[in-house]
Amino acid sequence: MSRAAKETRIDRPGGTFDLERLRADFPILTQQVHGRPLVYLDNAATTQKPNAVIEALNHYYRTDNANIHRGVHTLSERATSAYEGARATVRQFINAASDKEIVFVRGTTEGVNLVASSWGRTNVRAGDEVLITTLEHHANIVPWQMLCAEVGATLRVVPITDSGELIMEEFERLLSERTRMVAVTQCSNAIGTVTPIERIIARAHAAGAVVLVDGAQAVAHVPVDVRALDCDFYAFSSHKLYGPTGIGVLYGKERLLEAMPPYQGGGDMIKTVTFEKTTYNDLPHKFEAGTPHIAGAIGLGAAIDYVNGLDRAAIGAHERDLLDRATRALLEIPGARVIGTARAKIGILSFTLDGAHPHDIGTVLDHEGVAIRTGHHCAMPLMQRLRLPATARASFACYNTRGDVDALILGIRKVREMFG
């Protein structure tokens, strides 16, 4: 019997759901690793996939596979309608105004690169500034560095407190008429901080800047409404939202996307081509050169349908409960330190343990069947700010249980016995 069996009815302040039934949707979770039941706590890196997503990919390749757009045959029409149907599902999920604002990309990284390259080269000039934060993942740092180096602009960075919160007074101070772009994460992948993006967006707009939100970590855990946020761009990856890898979404306000030059040239992004001149396709196709990851988009649509079928408030409360429980238990272990103690956090627990390097913690936990991530979490400037070479990171998703937390804590105690 699985550990989760004891936790069938989950009754949290946010609502009630059947955790054991939910876990049964994720076939990968039933396996053993090193002779122990798998405890998957690396959800901030990628989440596992429910049957609904696996089946959608399977169905597409078994029955509907064809190239999309312009095909007159039945399979192509089916594939096109499934692909464009997934776009509509994404649009509803984040409450965008139009399907034209939903661009399929490979993932968050490509979304940011698209904006830095297409919008950035058109709108950022020598002497301008791009404002990011210390919390950013490399994906929301490097594209802006490359842009700034190319056009002669300056990259500015909002600092954080020791607890891992943005220092908003510094944000206000750094924001100026020179700021063209504010690129900020909604949730830190390394330490879990939830940033006050509503306030950041409002202040940036008042200063005349455009805002890109890195939603990679947020989208699976926080309801996202791009119109309520009023962000200009919002990028996220499917694979952190229970969907397939290799597909993601860039949301952009239509008037901004309309004014931007294409990111890549090729098939599907054109209306007419002669050797003298090419006219570009309408949104969003202008930004989707070449055959896209059709199956991936359909899988993402299935993942969103799956998430929409969950009680998201209850799941949010459940993940919060797991984080609180794990944090409390960790702090009882001598030598353990929680990295990132912001007031608002998603279910990410970064920590260190005296005498044991995160890499060793990761190897020992793996032997207990517990999968966590160790290292710099693609946030080397943040690690530098925290004066740490690395942390160990456990991150929670809807299917995790209190039993998973217990296994994590037991494993960390074993690390301590070995290295203490």
Partner: protein, 147 residues
């Protein structure tokens, strides 16, 4: 199920807890190099004092996991007092042991590193000090990276 103790042998844990030669070379260091493993953030500075073709003193400094710290500590113990050809032979012996199913014979206490082979993700932790040693012998000023 693999026994975790094949990786974390008592010798490894001991060298991690109390690394030997974990200090700057007091005087006369004439070769040094910095090693870096971007995967785990490990960083290692190695100093050598070489006189008449013999390593007369060695010290290392830095922050790393148990495997890289123990590997560095064991390495410093094994190379002190050795001639450069002997050190080269050890370097090749350890490299073969960690990456090519090489024989642990003739490696003395370094053979405890053999357990790392079963953990492909950790092999670079063990080889970092040795790559740094190679760079220090060439007196390369550049930082060595495992990537």
């Amino acid at each position: 199920m693999q026994d975790l103790r094949t990786l974390y042998e008592e010798v490894i844990l001991d060298h991690n807890r109390r690394p030997r030669n974990f200090r700057r070379v007091p005087e006369g260091a004439n070769h040094h190099a910095v090693g870096h493993n971007p995967l785990c953030g490990d960083q290692l500075t190695l100093e050598l004092k070489i006189k008449d073709g013999v390593i007369t003193d060695v010290g290392f400094d830095g922050a790393g996991c148990a495997i890289s710290t123990a590997s560095a500590s064991l390495m410093t113990e094994c190379i002190k007092g050795k001639t450069l050809p002997e050190v080269q032979a050890l370097y090749h012996g350890v490299h073969n042991l960690l990456t090519k199913d090489g024989d642990a014979a003739n490696l003395g206490k370094l053979q405890v590193l053999a357990g790392v082979r079963e953990y492909p993700a950790r092999v670079k932790c063990a080889t970092l000090p040795w790559h740094t040693l190679e760079a220090a012998l060439k007196d390369s000023a550049a930082t060595v990276s495992t990537e």
